[in-house]
Amino acid sequence: MSTQLLSSTLAGRSSDRSAVALVGVSKVFGRGPDAVHALDKVSLTVAPGEFVCLVGASGCGKSTLLSLAAGLDTPSAGTIDVAGLGSPALMFQDPALFPWLTVAGNVGLPLRLRGMSRVERQARVAELLRVVHLEEFAKRQPHELSGGMRQRVALARTLGLASPVLLMDEPFGALDAMTRDILHDELERIWTERRLTVVFVTHNVREAARLGDRIVLLSSRPGRVVWERPVDIARPRRIDSPEVAAIAAEVTDRLRQEVRRHGR
C-alpha cells in the first residue's frame, strides 16, 4: 500500500513538474515509400513557467510538433501531456483574425465559445486589449491595423483562452525587425506577469537567444532533438546585446553542422 501511495504521489509530482511532456513522439505522413517521417521519437519536457525556443532548419517538423502539442493532430507514436484544461493556446505566424469581426469581436470569440456572458465578456475583452496596448482599437476592423497590431490582437485572443501553456509557431516571422523587437518585450512581460509556459518555434536564432530560457535544436527529416542549451542571460535582455549575439552564433554553428550533415 505504501508503494502505491508513493507511486501515486510521484506521478502527481511529475505532472506538476512539467507543463509540457512529449515522450517518444513520432509523426509519419503518408505510407509506403512516399511516407515522410516528420518527427522521430522526440522527447521534450518543459517546466512550468519555462520559455523554450525550438529552432531548426525549415522542414524539420517544428510546426508539426506544435500542432501535435495543440491537439490539432495525433502522433503516430508516443505520448503528449500538456498542462491545463482543454487544448493549449496556439498562435501562428499568420494572425488569422476573422475579417468579418471587429478587434473586440475577435478577442471575444473564444470567450463567447466558452459561453461567457456578454457583460463579463466585455470586461474581459477590454482587459485583454489593455494587456496588448490596443484598448483604443476595439471597434476597428482587422484590415485597418498594421501587421504588428494584428499579431497583438491574435495574442490577446490567444491569452483569452486562459491556458497556462502558450504554443507559438513563428509568431513574429512576418514582422519587421523594429516591430518584432517591441513585441519581444511585450511577450516577455506578459509571460512573466502571467507565469505562462511558452514553447516558441522560430528559425531566427537571435530571437531564440533573446527570448528563451532554453534553446532546443531539431534536425530535419526525420525531426529529432539533436542539441539543447540553456540561455543563462539575465532579463531584461536586448536582442543586440553581445551576450545574445554570442549564444546566437553558437546556435547558428550547430544549426549549420546539422544542415550540412543532411547534405543540403
Binding site: F29, V36, A38, G59, G61, S63, T64, A70, L72, G86, S87, A89, L90, M91, F92, D94, A96, F98, W100, L109, P110, L113, R114, R157, T158, L161, R221
Partner: protein, 289 residues
C-alpha cells in the same frame, strides 16, 4: 511537413525545350490595344446576347402597356413566380449548403461520382427532369404514392410541385458555387477557430459560414434566377393552372399562342423584375471584397 514542395522539377520540365525564360516583366496593360481578332467576336457575342432583349423593347406595345400590366392574370403569375422561386431558393440553401460542405470538406469514397450526379440536373433537359420528378413524386410515383396514401399529400400539379421542380433544376447552381467558395476559403481560419476551442459545428456556424457568405449569396442569386425562369420541369411536373402553377414563363408561353403582344408584355415584366433584383443583390453582396 513536406507537401509536394518541388515545383522546380515541374518548371524545368516545362522549360526544357527552349533557353531559360527571362523573368516576366511587370504587366503593362495601359496603352496596349486589344487585338481586332478578339474585338470582333467579342462585339458579335455582345450583340447576340443583347439584340433579342432590344427586340422585346422595340416591339413592346407601349401605348396599351398600363392596362395590360393590371390585367388579372399577370400579377397572379408574377406573384406566384416570385414566391415559388424564393421558396425554392430557401430549400436549395438549406439542403445545398450542407451538401456542398460535405463535398468540400469530407473525404469519402465515391465523392467524384456524387459530384457528377449533382451536376446531372444542369445538363438534363428540364422536361426530362419533370418526367423524372413525376415518376418519383407523382401521385403514383415511388415517394409520391406513399405520401398520397399515408398523409394524403399530393405534390404533382400543385404549387408545392412548382417549388420542387424549380429546386430540382436550380440546386446544382448553388451547390457548385458554395463548394467552390469552400474550396477557395482559407482553411487557416477554421484551424484558428479549432485552436480557440470551437468544435466542428461551432466552427461551421461561426467561421466557415461567414467566410463563404459571399459564395452562398452568389449561389443563391444564381439559383433564384434559374428558378424564376424555370419552364420545362415545371410544366411537366406541375402543369399549367392559372393561380396555382402558372408561373411567368408558363404564362408567356401560353400567351404566345393567342396574343403576341401580351407575351411581350409578360416577358418584359419578367425581365425587368429579375434584372432589378439581380442588380440590387449584386451590388449589395457579390461585389463586396
Amino acid at each position: 511537413m513536406s507537401k509536394h514542395d518541388n515545383p522546380s522539377t515541374h518548371h524545368s520540365d516545362v522549360l526544357k525545350p527552349g533557353p531559360p525564360a527571362p523573368v516576366a516583366p511587370p504587366r503593362r496593360r495601359v496603352g496596349r490595344r486589344a487585338p481586332v481578332a478578339l474585338l470582333i467576336p467579342a462585339a458579335l457575342g455582345l450583340a447576340f446576347l443583347v439584340l433579342p432583349l432590344a427586340g422585346l423593347l422595340v416591339r413592346a406595345p407601349w401605348s396599351t402597356l398600363p392596362q395590360r400590366l393590371v390585367a388579372p392574370g399577370v400579377l397572379t403569375a408574377l406573384r406566384l413566380s416570385l414566391l415559388t422561386a424564393t421558396i425554392a431558393t430557401v430549400v436549395c440553401v438549406v439542403l445545398g449548403v450542407p451538401l456542398a460542405w460535405v463535398l468540400a470538406r469530407v473525404d469519402f469514397r465515391g465523392r467524384r461520382i456524387v459530384r457528377a450526379l449533382i451536376t446531372v440536373p444542369l445538363v438534363l433537359p428540364p422536361v426530362v427532369g419533370g418526367v423524372a420528378l413525376l415518376l418519383v413524386f407523382g401521385r403514383k410515383g415511388i415517394v409520391g404514392g406513399w405520401l398520397n396514401e399515408t398523409f394524403g399529400i399530393t405534390l404533382a400539379f400543385t404549387t408545392a410541385g412548382v417549388v420542387i421542380a424549380e429546386a430540382f433544376v436550380a440546386m446544382p447552381f448553388l451547390v457548385i458555387a458554395v463548394e467552390g467558395a469552400l474550396r477557395g476559403a482559407d482553411e487557416r481560419y477554421e484551424e484558428a477557430a479549432a485552436t480557440l476551442g470551437a468544435g466542428r459545428w461551432t466552427t461551421f456556424r461561426r467561421v466557415t459560414l461567414p467566410l463563404v457568405a459571399p459564395g452562398v449569396a452568389a449561389g443563391a442569386v444564381l439559383c433564384w434566377a434559374r428558378a424564376l425562369g424555370e419552364f420545362g420541369a415545371t410544366i411537366t411536373f406541375a402543369g399549367n393552372f392559372p393561380g396555382r402553377t402558372q408561373t411567368m414563363p408558363l404564362a408567356v408561353y401560353l400567351a404566345l399562342e393567342k396574343d403576341l403582344e401580351s407575351a411581350i408584355v409578360l416577358s418584359l415584366i419578367l425581365l425587368a423584375v429579375s434584372v432589378t433584383i439581380l442588380a440590387t443583390l449584386r451590388d449589395r453582396w457579390i461585389n463586396t471584397p
